[in-house]
Amino acid sequence: MAIDVESRPAIAGRVTAQRGRRSWQRFRRDKLLVVLGVPGAAALFLFQYVPLLGNIIAFQDYQPFTGIDGSPFVGLDNFSFLWEGNSTFLNALANTLILTVIQTVFVFPIPLALALLLSSLAGERLKGLLQSVLYLPHFLSWVIVVAIFQQMLGNAGMLNTFMVQNDLPIIHIIGVPELFKALLTSQAIWKDAGWGTIIFLAAIAQIDQEQYEASAVDGANAWQRLRYITLPSLKGIFILLLILRLGSSLSVGFEQIILQQGPVGLDASEVLDTWVYNNGIVGGDWGMSAAVGLVKGLVGVLLVIGANKLAHKFGEQGIYQK
């Protein structure tokens, strides 16, 4: 028996959002909720927030032997890479931004498409089997993935051996700077598209089947059901994931890229994370590395807030509401 919300004025429930309530009353009401959340919050606080304090070295001329206490404050000196106009940094930044756009446009939607494809299959077992196969590459480390691509597509790999033995010209894929971003993208798709379907499949599973049945009775065909039931139901999670993805825009992959910088050169392959590694960590510039980490986090925060606001304009919930 569906309860009509409007007709319950007297019941003191959460449904009646009374914003003027004193915090103490809300606390009493939500005590249990908070208690449920405390263990997780405590773990988060202890192991993520407390160590974050170590990032103070971003503002110091940090030397290991003087420690944090002894290293002098240098204000924003470590952040100078932002305005110095260092060409390698700018190149890395450009590569990063281009890659993140490519990944968001090409890589991000694929799990959704795959999930829709899979869920439209009628057979349960077939669906399960296919999905189990597709997620497998996720478990490979990047070292192996790069080696596999090398074995298959390298200049002396399976494909090109076939070409050479049949007197055909070699197809150069690996080691071509112009193709590097495309290579990275296809590797990312291969490795994680299948794994990414999991969340969407779970979301699809949450959709009330009765809606499909009812709409079919009303005469909706498969495309219409997709458009009017499935996609709208997935909109929320899709946008949430998109916002989270934007938050990590400046991270486009570290291990995957650093393994493949040699053949294509730094111009084509350096991104922010590898730049920090090659210029900061390898040489022991601790302050600068921490500074870059802070900048990335800050940019991520701004992007998340911005994306969230944008989502609100479209009537979506986003991650949080005002």
Partner: protein, 317 residues
């Protein structure tokens, strides 16, 4: 009365009767053959792209020495005379088996605890206007976007006396901000009427959580549980940092010691003759397969929960 006729007549016009023994739900019409073909091509290609390299991995792990030599140290598509030598080499000595048991323990306990903590946190944050939910959510986002440094993390673990303990592999990663946010989103999608009617019936928050929310959230619990389980299973880095004694190493770390750059695996000592070991690439492939097996076993059980559709008929009743 006429309305029912109307509906029925529309139904009989638009719904094609399902054929006998069909696995389609009664309301679903027969799919368009062209769409079917395109679908199968798309899926077929995707599957092939994954299966061929994996088949190659398995074949390489099983191949005999001659076949491997002929392939110039690379991977093969056919194992020739299959042999389990590589697996034998990896599994002999009991270190890997023991580590696997350790890993299973850590994964099971860790996943359970993580799910509990994550669900609790996500549930709290999913309730609109809950006390403290807003600041906590912002803190969560902060944890997602800012990563702490390696050494400060190490120092915290050390101060808590967790060094060389398996808890150092569980507690620091107990809650993953991304997972919390996703689970929260799923909780938020649950119809508000459920909570309303429960409240009217006088249920406490705990009862609501355990009797209503969790049973309906099997899909997201399975998914997030899978994410955590895989993370625990594959984690080697924290073990490398925090666990001093090799007897306590989880499997991922033991296997990492096998997979090192181009360096030789096995008993290479200057001036020591050894009985021949399988080639390095083959050992790496065997290791890969070994570490995949438990996941492949567990996965189908979890998958049931998020592949099927659900009836949330409870709302209407």
């Amino acid at each position: 009365m006429s309305k029912i006729n109307e509906v029925t007549s529309i139904a009989s016009r638009t719904l094609k009767r399902p054929t006998k023994n069909s696995r389609r739900p009664a309301w679903m019409e027969k799919p368009n053959p062209l769409t079917q073909v395109l679908k199968f091509i798309a899926l077929g290609v995707s599957v092939l792209l994954v299966i061929v390299p994996f088949w190659s991995i398995i074949a390489t792990s099983l191949a005999d020495k001659q076949t491997l030599d002929k392939s110039a140290g690379g991977m093969v598509l056919w194992p020739g005379q299959p042999t389990f030598e590589a697996y034998g080499a990896v599994l002999s000595g009991g270190t890997v088996t023991r580590a696997m048991i350790i890993s299973i323990g850590i994964t099971v306990i860790g996943t359970f605890l993580s799910l509990a903590a994550t669900a609790g946190l996500a549930y709290w944050l999913s309730r609109r206007d809950a006390f403290g939910a807003r600041p906590m959510l912002l803190l969560l986002l902060g944890a997602l976007l800012f990563s702490p440094g390696l050494i400060p993390g190490y120092l915290v673990v050390k101060e808590l006396n967790l060094l060389d303990s398996w808890w150092s592999l569980i507690l620091p990663v107990l809650v993953n901000a991304f997972n919390v946010i996703v689970m929260r989103a799923f909780f938020q999608e649950l119809p508000q009427e459920l909570f309303d009617s429960a409240e009217i019936d006088g249920a406490s928050s705990l009862t609501v959580l355990t009797r209503i929310v969790l049973p309906l959230s099997k899909a997201v619990l399975a998914v997030i549980g899978l994410f955590y389980a895989v993370a625990y299973w594959n984690a080697f880095f924290n073990a490398m940092l925090y666990i001093q004694s090799t007897e306590k190493w989880p499997m991922a770390l033991v296997l990492r010691a096998f997979v090192v750059d181009q360096t030789a695996i096995g008993g290479n000592q200057v001036g020591a003759a050894t009985e021949a070991l399988p080639p390095q690439l083959q050992l790496q492939m065997a290791i890969l397969v070994i570490s995949l097996v438990p996941i492949l076993i567990v996965y189908p059980f979890l998958q049931r929960h998020f592949a099927k559709g659900m009836m949330i008929g409870a709302v209407k009743g």
